[in-house]
Symmetry: C2
Subunit: 101 residues, 2 copies
Amino acid sequence: MDNKKDKERRETNEIFIGSKPFMKYVIATIMQLEKNGSAIIKARGKFISRGVDVAEVVKKRVKEKDGTDLSQGIIIGTDAFKNEEEKQINVSTIDISLNRN
Amino acid sequence: MDNKKDKERRETNEIFIGSKPFMKYVIATIMQLEKNGSAIIKARGKFISRGVDVAEVVKKRVKEKDGTDLSQGIIIGTDAFKNEEEKQINVSTIDISLNRN
């Protein structure tokens, strides 16, 4: 049971960066921080730059709003998969964890 | 004197990511690692995704070549400057330090 709860919590505090309007991701991240005290911004490939932008704007807004410096952890990695032609594709990934301490 | 040496060393082990062919940055980073034991991949704005790709490919190549797992440190930040119309522009930055330990 606990395991399931942990999983749900983990899943809900992840923000996946795509091509929706920029501020949607900023607001979603701030809402997760309010709710869970933590949020993980996840991005792949060309969206990595955008993920960093979201994290930077969130940190600035939270600092301005209530003076909190969010702590952060950053992991980069590679996802390997096969495309339709069975060719191996590597795509870089970034996970930026933000926490209220 | 020492200060000057430190500065030179720091400057020379930085790789700035731009729009040159991708493998140029990979090779430059691997050469810095051979020479100094460390390299810092620096990228701004839309080049951040590319900087992460370079770091990931370098780590993979070094691992394949001599089995070394490079240690890494990642810093993200914001550079603020004024454009030609005196408008404040913020651009996200990433510094990825790679070290042979």
